[in-house]
Amino acid sequence: MEMTFSVKNLQAYFDKNYVLKNINLEIPRRAVTAIIGPSGCGKSTLLRCLNRMNDLSADFKMDGQVLLDGGDIYRTKTNVTDLRRRVGMVFQKPNPFPKSIYDNVAYGLKIQGERNIRKLKEAVRQSLQGAALWDEVKDALHRSALQLSGGQQQRLCIARTMAVEPEVVLFDEPCSALDPIATRKIEDLIVSLKGKYTIVVVTHNMQQARRIADYVAFLHWGELIEFGESRQVFENSREQMTRDYINGTFG
């Protein structure tokens, strides 16, 4: 199995608090990897290390390496904005821009300098189709994105991310703010995307991880306890702690 990300000896801390301790992890290409674990154990921080979103926090520091296709993304020479185009992110609470649906999806391309209207329109259409939202909004592209329902907004954010043609898409608890029906749609969408993208999903919902993930990483208190194929981790975990977590002994 080819690996997209190779995380080596990653330590992360905010001010003096260690949030991630010595993480060694490989993310397989074009598969869905779920990161699970109890609240506050560092899942989101780990995810945000993969596209350097943690850089936005003033007191964030890290040691170790995060290799994307062999290159360390924390090297000083790295072009961070380019990295974030290659590694997209969908957030917990949908955060569409207060602009039209069209402008939201086109945004990523426009900021890279794309001016050709035809190309933009085509990209918007393809992305909205890929996010299973096109049929619902194709006649209302110039309406404000804020008028969509929560589930639709989240699919819009996914479309927006896909428009810049990333290699990896990171999902940070993408369904926790959505109702069950919307959740189901997003989950189906994520599974359908893995043919094109490498996907990493942070979730605190184990059933969700079971439903959509090919691989599972279990994080506890900033340490990687176990990583493996989804079936193996859920039915036959190597570590006792994993078993305890899955059985709901703690959570």
């Binding site: 979103m53 904005t81 185009r85 957030f91 955060n95 821009f97 990523g108 900021i111 810049v164």
Partner: protein, 293 residues
Amino acid sequence: MLARQAEYWIEAGLFLAALVSVLVTVGIVGVLMVETWQFFAEVSVVEFVTGTRWTPLFVNKHFGALPLFAGTFLTSAIAMGVAVPMGLLSAMYISEYLSEGWRAWVKPGLEILAAVPTVVYGYFALLIVTPFLQRIVPGLSGFNALSPGLVMGIMIMPIVSSLSEDALHAVPTSLREGAYALGATRWQVVTSVLVPAALSGIVSSFLLGAARAIGETMIVAIAAGMQPVLTLDPLGPIQTVTAYIVQVSLGDTPVGTIEYKTIFAVGMSLFLVTFLLNIVGYFMRNKFREIYD
């Protein structure tokens, strides 16, 4: 109970104090209206609003206020031409590029510009800025609209900057993160997401700044001249509405004459324009707060 009675009277007293603010507005409108009404009994509104000669203090009286309006417009436009870009750019910088520690000092620091007495700015404009500009701008006369306009711009810049910065800072972090995650550079996040999202707050800062420029008196009274001329040429002397009001007050105009009443007529137009700008600016700022609070 005595305490309960006392509480009632205290609240009534405080309410009356608050009512004074209403009385002030009533007073302003009342004083202006009475004399303005009498003024327009003698002078036609049409002449006032469209006439191009303003000579109420001469023997041959004309009451066309357009030159005064033009003078106010010219100096205010120059001022806004300075204050808007400087204010907005500084707001963008302060809200996105300064840490909380720096921001806490820089924001009040800019307020110094607004704290300088306007007569001092007038002195600066007439005796320092004008001579300086005369060396680089050919044809600039001793009294002109350019110099006080530029100085006013610097004085007003903190208004635009502070209110715009409040608006930018209030845009939720989730929008910033969404933009960064798509690979936007920091400046792109500011210009393409934050400024549009904060637009009503930013525009309200422009309106309030404009109202301030229009109502400014001493800087123009000292440095712009006292010649009501209908022109858009910033290099020569003009007279603003506010400078005219001061000019008449300095003289010995007897109460009740038509010259005396001109103060109130132009004062009324000044009040109406700034009132409009202030009210629209106030509601735009509140509408912005509703969206993001």
